[in-house]
Homo-oligomer: 215 residues x 2
């Protein structure tokens, strides 16, 4: 199988960190986002969504081969193939908590970072939504919305991490991976962790110190 990957983008990084935590090695094919290779004809035959990451399976794994897109779907594929170490939870309540926090980080924090990045930088003019779309004009007002969302999101995460070692509870999980790539991606979009968010910073230091963080 092959993992279509890109160096700095947050979604491919989510998969890389996940695979490193699982100890799974996969052949990687780099896609050059700076040259818009993800929107070129060759890549669009692999993933018509025009987004990375994408996992291309071999014919031996699925008749006719198959491409899985969406980073969370790729991680869930590997979780089903190799359950240990568990990153999506074992018991019903663990599974639910990891899913709930993962989605909260995505809808509140990650969305804010995308709003801030895609609606301001000239490089994303008419490409305000990730992937292959008709022209989608930027909306500068979304930068202001991103600031509101980011402030409330980081405050909520700081509160959560005041009483919990990891985001979803006592065990490192996919929610922490999602949090890490969100915080680091947001920093590139100008959204920082507040100075006073000591719990969030403690958690970010811990998750960044894991060997997987550099994957």
């Amino acid at each position: 199988m092959k993992l279509y990957d890109a160096e700095w983008a947050p979604s491919p990084r989510r998969v890389r960190v996940y695979l490193a935590e699982k100890g799974i090695e996969v052949e990687r094919v780099p896609v050059d986002l700076r040259r818009d290779e993800q929107l070129g004809d060759a890549y669009l035959t692999i993933n018509p969504r025009g987004a990375v990451p994408a996992l291309q399976l071999d014919d031996s794994e699925v008749p006719g081969g198959a491409v899985i897109c969406e980073s969370a779907a790729i991680c869930r594929y590997f979780e089903a193939v190799q359950p240990e170490p568990s990153l999506f939870g074992r018991t019903p309540i663990e599974i639910a908590r990891i899913e709930s926090w993962t989605r909260r980080i995505e809808s509140d924090g990650y969305a804010a970072a995308v709003y801030a990045l895609r609606n301001a930088a000239p490089a994303f003019a008419d490409r305000a939504v990730t992937g292959k779309w008709p022209a989608v004009p930027q909306i500068p007002e979304l930068s202001a919305r991103a600031l509101i969302m980011w402030g409330a999101f980081t405050e909520a995460m700081d509160q959560r991490l005041a009483t919990s070692e990891w985001i979803a509870g006592d065990v490192f999980s996919f929610a922490d991976i999602t949090g890490l790539i969100t915080i680091d991606f947001a920093a590139r979009a100008g959204l920082a962790m507040p100075d006073g968010a000591a719990n969030l910073r403690r958690w970010h230091d811990a998750v960044s110190a894991r060997p997987s963080a550099t994957a």
Copy 2:
């Protein structure tokens, strides 16, 4: 356990349709969104997010009780408790396909419906994002973005359903539930299925004819 529920909102409906497909009955507590009960002090002690649905477990299920929020997390809780009939897939590739399509529907179609509804209706002035937030002003330009996204989304779904009976493959799944509540919610926000989208309409008729659709 208790499921905090609301009549017309799409996320609670996602859980109701899911539970009906699974044959699971849960005590429901109605939350009156027309009166903003979800933002009142009583409900905020249950779910500080100020959103429905929320599942409150009994002490016997989790020491100290627990509240699960986010509709997908609630459904995954029940899937872990009662795996059959499977709605999140059994094999790694089924699991990945269901997750991938579910997320695509959410990020492209559901997001467009939220943009259209929340940024136009006077009832949502300064409440352009679901749940308990600081004031979030509406951005009228998001209605135009919603139209672009909805057009591309429904076209892609129609193409997909030209060659697949259900959204994620040969078997009805959580992706179809997500598709149903998205299409019906979008219609309330003024985003319809295109007249020419025959495959999408065939699928919508089939999914709407299941007894679970009225749950």
